[in-house]
Amino acid sequence: MGQPVAGNEIVRLSGLSAGYDGKPVVADVNLRVAAGEFVGIVGPSGSGKTTLMKVLLGTVHTYAGEAFVDGRRVSLRHRPSVGYVPQLETIDWNFPVTVEEVVMLGRAMQSGPWPWPRKSDTAEMMRLLERLGIARFRKQQIRNLSGGQQQRVFLARALIRNPRLLLLDEPTSGVDIKTRDDILHLLVDLHREGVTVILSTHELNAVAAHLPRVVCINHGIVADGNPAEIFTTDVLRRTYGGDMVVVRQGGMTLVADSPHFFDGRAGGAGEVAV
């Protein structure tokens, strides 16, 4: 299964295998993403979502195949200029750093030899912080923000590089449902402005509600397409190795756990049209 690519191609993976210490985590991956697309990568923990991100960042060994970003081959020696938002679980929230310092790190290699930022960089940072609604927190230490505000700080750090491609590793993990919705709407807005967005997530329903294209992976690509079409019990079983219920209602696709207790009717997976 694959998605036809329209317009300029920004990502191309051809027969790619990649992993750590000589052991591939993903194998024989073929993927094309056109400029301006909004793509979600879903799959169980350890299935290779983050590894695929790292391939696009040029921070992981590839054992076979090729990876191209913006027409240039990616490797450990040739890293592309992209915006990247890591999993927030990796951040040391007690680190003595303020919101504006974190955002300016996005231009650490472009803003001259002095420790202080240039006026133009500061102006760009303020514009971004205003846009993301966190300007009033700019002098705050990052621990003192809510989960959604913290996510926006790292999004601002990625956006200050004016990237054509934005990669986000599980941007909605560990945040409440309202914050998750806010983050995804923000990403949709960026996508509408022409930024190509690729994110990994565990949130199948959020992906189905907000994203036009999703790639299901489990050490390789299981399915690729519109979530309304590819979220089937068969694809989800091959992706996650378990049974799930797919509910379709009024154009919406919802994925639910296979219930043990549900109004007296126990167990079973399948597709339900309401």
Binding site: T59, P96, E101, L105, A108, M109, P115, Q140, N144
Partner: protein, 296 residues
């Protein structure tokens, strides 16, 4: 204590030399220690000093210059630790333990074989304000100047790598090159500090001033300045304690640093209590509401 008592030690050249050297060493270890603490590499200061001790003994036995022998040994140890740490199965603490204790053991073995060497390394183990020469002062000043320059011109890159080592290379920060410079600076700091602090006590001077500074500020740049000033102040004061109470200079500086740490913990806890209306230990993470109450 009379004014004459305070000025008395200045009559001695050895004290003037030691005071200048210790103050610079305090500022140096305070500055470098910020990166050591925030990178959670506190153990590396302890290990590196032991490693340098081994190199110094080898150099002494072989008839090399102290700084040259200890410098090359320390730098190679730092690189070896970095390389060993990159093996995914070996943690940084284990890598430091293996490389540095082996080096220290080599030094001890050589001393055991040549008993005449022992006397000369007492000062290296615990610090001694006697015998700090003009040349030592110049070496410390050069290391301090280089370190300040490196931190100034590589500030953004060092901050990025220390804060988010996974993403910094993605954004173009040359992590390998910067880490090598940091290893060089750390090795040079330890070598320059050995005569004042002693091998066994350098780790404390790398850790305590940054930790005190962290309790006092939430800003990285301020932490760098505060830690350097605290390090310099306790080293300056510690030399008088060392002189008047006849205590090894490293021990007096570390004891004074520990006293400053305890006083800071106490005062920050008290401040939090007054502002939030209930006891909040200085070492516990504040909730968002508590932090707001403190900083608003």
């Amino acid at each position: 204590m009379l004014f004459a008592d305070i000025t008395e030690p200045f009559e001695f050249e050895f004290f003037r030399h030691a005071l200048i050297a210790a103050t610079m060493v305090g500022a140096l270890t305070g500055l470098v220690g910020v990166f050591v603490v925030l990178r959670r590499m506190s153990y590396i200061g302890h290990g590196m000093s032991h490693s340098v001790f081994g190199g110094a003994v080898v150099g002494y036995v072989a008839g090399f210059n102290f700084y040259l022998a200890a410098g090359i040994w320390g730098f190679l140890s730092a690189l070896l630790i970095n390389q060993t740490t990159r093996k995914r199965q070996i943690g940084a603490d284990a890598a430091i333990g293996i490389v540095t204790t082996a080096s220290f053991a080599l030094g001890v073995a050589l001393i055991s074989r040549a008993s005449s060497v022992t006397r000369n390394f007492d000062a290296a183990l615990f610090g001694n304000l006697l015998g700090v020469s003009q040349a030592d002062i110049w070496v410390i000043a050069a290391v301090l100047a280089f370190t300040v320059g490196a931190v100034f011109f590589l500030y953004k890159q060092l901050l990025f790598l220390t804060f988010d080592s996974e993403v910094a290379p993605v954004y173009g920060v040359p992590a390998g090159w910067i880490d090598t410079v940091f290893s060089l600076v750390l090795a040079a700091t330890i070598i320059a500090s050995i005569r004042i602090m002693g091998v066994t006590l350098i780790a404390a001077s790398l850790v305590i001033p940054p930790v005190v500074a962290r309790l006092l500020t939430d800003r990285f740049a301020v932490m760098l300045v505060l830690s350097s000033l605290i390090g310099a102040a306790v080293a300056f004061s510690g030399m008088f304690v060392s002189y008047y109470w006849d205590i090894a200079s490293g021990a007096s500086i570390v004891l004074l640093s520990a006293a400053v740490f305890v006083a800071t913990i106490f005062s920050v806890t008290l401040r939090n209590w007054i502002r939030t209306g209930r006891p909040v230990p200085a070492t516990r993470e504040l909730t968002a509401a508590e932090a707001k109450a403190l900083f608003d």
